[in-house]
């Protein structure tokens, strides 16, 4: 039982990271109908920005704000440089462009900052607390809390605010949204900014656990992409549930079946979903939209 509780906590913690990145995938997919394969690199870039800001002597909170502002700027540049020129083309050139952009981002960071993995200290001086038989890593606790807050924020933002509804309208039918006076290009710009910030947030939060390296984004993004499919592509709740489920499944699979095949469990679940429920857990709503 003690073992299961510890695994559950860790699984939810790592799953929350997948969920944050998956959320970025979903938001961009809803707005543009394309998958942004550079979403993982957003996490990596933000983590490096955070390291640079901390090394420059900024207090941790200020470095955090600077890194997120940097990500917002990257979202603008990404939209204008990668999506906007190809917006009237089919989804394929845009997806290929996002793959190219992810390679460019990774190699740009490599060229600027070098290949050295970096250590980013966590928010708290205490690495964690022991609650009965379970050790709660303070960084994972923070990640879980942030994910819960974001779920609530997303619900409020998309369901209760005018801007959120405009974003939803744009994602559902661009032409109709445009006829209703919504600036589609502005909404898409906002979506890219929000997704870049979300991806960045995931990177900054997970950096003290996984270290800051060029590969950190692609490693997380692959799982987050699987989580998005499991949850139902295009569904915010699906991304969160898919991410958490994936984290828990791979952690328990590793502990009770086989450690070397840990990644295999995640992708086994993905394959099972693709065969038996390709629309994902919350797939019906996407089908209605289509």
């Amino acid at each position: 039982m003690d073992l299961a509780l510890q695994l559950l906590f860790t699984g939810i913690g790592i799953g929350a990271v997948y969920a944050l990145v998956a959320l970025g995938f979903v938001l961009i997919f809803r707005a543009t109908n394309v998958v942004n394969f550079a979403q993982g690199e957003f996490s990596m870039v933000a983590a490096y920005l955070m390291v640079v800001a901390v090394e420059a002597g900024l207090p941790y909170w200020a470095a955090f704000i600077v890194a997120l502002l940097g990500m917002a700027l990257l979202g603008v540049v990404f939209n204008l440089g990668v999506y906007y020129p190809l917006r009237h083309r089919t989804y394929l050139p845009v997806i290929i462009a996002t793959i190219g952009a992810s390679i460019l981002l990774a190699n740009s960071v490599l060229a600027i900052y070098g290949p050295q993995p970096q250590v980013l200290e966590g928010w708290f001086e205490t690495p964690g607390i022991q609650v009965g038989p379970v050790y709660l890593d303070s960084q994972y606790l923070l990640i879980i809390c942030v994910t819960i807050c974001l779920v609530i924020f997303n619900f409020w933002f998309f369901e209760k605010t005018l801007l959120g509804k405009k974003l939803q309208a744009t994602s559902q039918d661009k032409e109709m949204a445009s006829l209703l006076g919504i600036s589609v290009s502005t909404m898409i710009m906002i979506t890219f900014i929000y997704s870049a910030v979300l991806g960045g947030l995931a990177g900054i939060l997970v950096a003290p656990v996984l270290f800051v390296s060029i590969q950190m984004g692609s490693t997380i993004a692959l799982k987050a992409f699987a989580a998005t499919i499991i949850g139902g592509f295009g569904d915010v709740a699906g991304a969160i549930i898919g991410g958490l489920a994936l984290g828990v499944i791979e952690t328990f699979g590793a502990a009770y079946i086989s450690v070397p095949y840990k990644d295999g469990f995640a992708f086994l679940v993905l394959v099972a979903f693709l065969i038996f429920r390709p629309q994902g857990i919350f797939g019906e709503r996407v089908a209605e939209k289509a």
Binding site: Y135, V209, P260
Partner: protein
């Protein structure tokens, strides 16, 4: 001026012959070229940078001392991207240059396995740092190893843990790649010979979480941990989680446990651990000399990533000079004939398989400082 048939024929002949003459001239050019596949990008890019620096420092010294066959040595580096396809591509690019006389391959056994078939086809000497014992025992006469292989590291870890630390109940943790599997098998085999019980646990490279591994080790009731990690990121994450989850048993690791990147990432989580290290700065005069040269030039502490490439260039250059030729077969004979050659990693005595070193150092991490304990050499 009238163009005669003879002038025309001469012109055509010169045109056809010119590229070959130029190529030939280049082949016999002003430098002796050595190719190097190194991870310039990918997860091992940082340690790849150290490897390149080690090789360059050696070549600088060789050139100052008169060069190779009276010519200056030149290092041609290709990025292996820290992947198997990457190193195959990098090696094929280098192999297509006929004027390269010898090569430096990878410190990663998996990558050496990937490039090995092409090495046989090319038939030129390749210096390697991969420690999977099979690499020099698979009928590939062109691979020469500049680090002791894992049959030695496994035996040294086992002997130290059992005879010095007095522990008989072991957990053996290893990567499931070629290096980790070979190392894990070597350690388990050595422990079984010493009458120990072992709990074997593999893991896949680039894992983001080691909680299940740590809990499995905890539940096994092991008194001591032996490990073979391929990547420093993995080692760093594991070390932190091991300590966080309250596992404080003694830990003796393969050389990656004492390399610079791992020490930086894991920090205090690796304090008081032991490692087998092919390079230990205080283990010999050659090691000390290399340490000084490297610190002066690179401004960081040396480790095995740079020491093996340093030795590989020195040995290859010495062998070519001794052979008096860049003919591959003669270089091979000269390398195999090398005995008592003082290197940064220790004294090289090549056997007929191409293994130059036959022992390991034991070192301890004392609050982040790597302290030499003892050297264990095998003669069998």
């Amino acid at each position: 001026m009238r163009l005669t048939r003879r002038d025309f024929a001469a012109g055509i002949a010169a045109g056809i012959a010119a590229p070959y003459i130029i190529k030939s001239a280049n082949a016999q050019g002003a430098t002796i070229k050595i190719g190097m596949c190194a991870p310039v990008t990918g997860p091992a890019a940082e340690s790849g940078g150290y490897a390149i620096k080690g090789a360059k420092l050696a070549l600088e010294a060789v050139n100052k001392a008169g060069g190779i066959l009276g010519k200056q040595g030149e290092l041609i580096v290709e990025d292996d991207q820290t992947t198997n396809p990457g190193i195959v591509l990098a090696f094929s690019k280098l192999a297509s240059q006929p004027d390269i006389v010898g090569f430096l391959g990878s410190i990663r056994s998996t990558q050496v396995h990937a490039m090995a078939p092409d090495v046989i086809k090319l038939g030129k000497p390749v210096m390697i740092g991969g420690t999977d014992p099979k690499l020099t025992h698979m009928d590939n006469q062109w691979l020469f190893r500049f680090r002791p292989n894992d049959s030695y590291s496994g035996r040294v870890i086992a002997e130290f843990g059992v005879n010095t630390l007095g522990k008989k109940k072991w957990a053996v943790l290893h990567s499931t790649d070629a290096f980790g599997t070979a190392g894990g098998n070597a350690l388990t085999g050595a422990l079984e010979k010493l009458g120990c019980t072992t709990f074997d646990q593999g893991y896949a490279n680039q894992s983001q979480d080691f909680t299940p591994v740590v809990l499995a080790i905890k539940q096994s009731g092991a008194e001591i941990l032996g490990s073979y990690f391929t990547f420093e990121n993995d080692l760093g994450i594991f070390a932190r989680q091991l300590r966080q989850l309250g596992v404080n048993i003694p830990w003796v690791g393969s050389p990656s446990i004492v390399n610079i990147t791992a020490l930086k990432l894991a920090g205090p989580a690796l304090y008081n651990t032991y490692g087998v290290a092919d390079y230990a700065e205080d283990s010999s005069e050659g090691s000390k000399a290399f340490g000084k040269i490297y610190r002066d030039a690179v401004k960081v502490a040396p480790d095995n990533q740079s020491s093996w490439t340093f030795d590989a260039i020195n040995v290859l250059s010495a062998a070519i000079n001794k052979a008096g030729s860049t003919e591959p077969a003669k270089i091979r004979e000269a390398i195999l004939a090398i005995k008592k050659f003082p290197g940064a990693e220790g004294e090289y005595n090549f056997d007929q398989n191409g293994d130059g070193l036959h022992g390991y150092n034991i070192v301890k991490n004392e609050k982040g400082k790597i302290v030499f304990d003892k050297h264990i050499e095998f003669n069998d």
